[in-house]
């Protein structure tokens, strides 16, 4: 590896001006960096969805029930509602949860509550954990990042399920 430059100004035409760049320290540095980064590499891309305490118990946030927004995941539908009375059932479509319907419902109900960004989520027995996480994910995407995970009987909204 070399660097060549035309040294016409010096007046010594014909003299070789090739300079060998010593790449050994560079390769040493690169080798050390590669070894360090390979050893410390984290290949699994993990993250978290955080919940905050709600309802009774240590650190529980006693939100005014009139404004509480609750989501219940059951084996066949999502239930979304405000404690003021607006309650909706979003059934599964073709065996899958209707995520678009849940997004719309959460978006509409959130707009009726002004600046509040909290939501209570609960899941019935028999619901898969992935459905719970996807429900939380949908709530965050709809501007409700302050999630409280509760036991179904502790939700502020009582859904009149059969």
């Amino acid at each position: 590896m070399g660097v060549s430059a035309d040294d016409g100004a010096s007046g010594r035409a014909g003299k070789a001006v090739d300079v060998e760049v010593n790449v050994v320290p560079f390769i040493d540095l690169m080798s050390c960096l590669v070894a360090f980064l390979l050893v410390t590499a984290v290949w699994s891309n993990l993250a978290q969805i955080r919940t905050t305490p709600r309802g009774p118990g240590p650190g529980g946030d006693q939100a005014p029930p009139a404004l509480a927004l609750s989501v219940l995941v059951t084996v066949d539908a999502h239930w979304v509602g405000l404690a003021t009375g607006d309650r909706r059932r979003i059934p599964k479509v073709g065996g899958e949860y209707d995520w678009a319907g849940l997004e719309n419902a959460l978006g509409e109900l959130r707009r009726t509550r002004g600046d509040r960004h909290d939501v209570e989520i609960a899941a019935d027995d028999g619901v898969a954990y992935q459905a719970v996480i996807s429900t939380m994910d949908t709530a965050i995407a709809e501007g409700l990042p302050d999630i409280g995970y509760l036991d179904p009987p502790l939700l502020s909204v009582r859904f009149g399920r059969p």
Binding site: S31, L33, T40, L46, P53, G59, Y129, Q130, V132, I133
Partner: protein
């Protein structure tokens, strides 16, 4: 002893050109410059890739058999905290087995607490309070717990674990997820 005409002599009569000796062709240099350009290019690309995937927080969770984390798009950075792991076969706390989720799923009693887990969490909480950590840092870590569960775990098991954690003064739960690009 009669004197003989000398015979062939190494490096004079036989030049050994390939050895670079004193033969006619022996003064030709044998130094061959190694072209390092491709090697340096590869190292540079490797370093750039590894730097892009570098995580300063290190590996907080270890993957294990029977644990397929749920996926989500919206997420926060994971913090270091005690870990409850729920697979289809076992419930662990920091690697110690606490209960069998199949027993909990089939349990019809009114018991809502997992006794072994509750006791272990209380011990952990007491140890945390005694630990020589700065009070400000302690405040930010108090009641913080990582829950990593298989995506097929029943919500009944999840609810029981959550209630146990709340009862043991661990109300701030971080649900571990695997990041994904988009869609449900």
């Amino acid at each position: 002893m009669p004197v003989h005409v000398p015979g062939p002599e190494l490096y004079n009569s036989i030049p050994f050109r390939h050895l670079g000796g004193k033969g006619k062709q022996g003064k030709k240099g044998v130094f061959a410059a190694l072209n390092l350009t491709a090697f340096v290019d590869m190292m540079t690309m490797l370093v750039v890739f590894l730097l892009m995937t570098f995580s300063a927080s290190g590996e907080i969770l270890m993957s294990q058999k029977g644990l397929d984390l749920p996926q989500a798009i919206n997420k926060d950075q994971l913090k270091r905290a005690p870990i409850i792991t729920i697979t289809m076969d076992t419930i662990n706390f920091n690697g110690e087995q606490m209960a069998d989720p199949r027993n909990i799923a089939s349990d019809t009693s009114l018991e809502w607490k997992i006794i072994e887990l509750y006791e272990r969490l209380k011990v952990e909480h007491a140890q945390f309070e005694l630990a020589p950590i700065d009070e400000k840092q302690k405040e930010s870590l108090r009641g913080l717990l990582i829950l990593q569960a298989d995506k097929n775990v029943d919500a009944k098991v999840l609810n029981r674990v959550m209630k146990t954690a709340y009862a043991a003064e661990y109300p701030n739960i971080m649900f571990a997820i695997a990041q994904r690009a988009g869609g449900h």
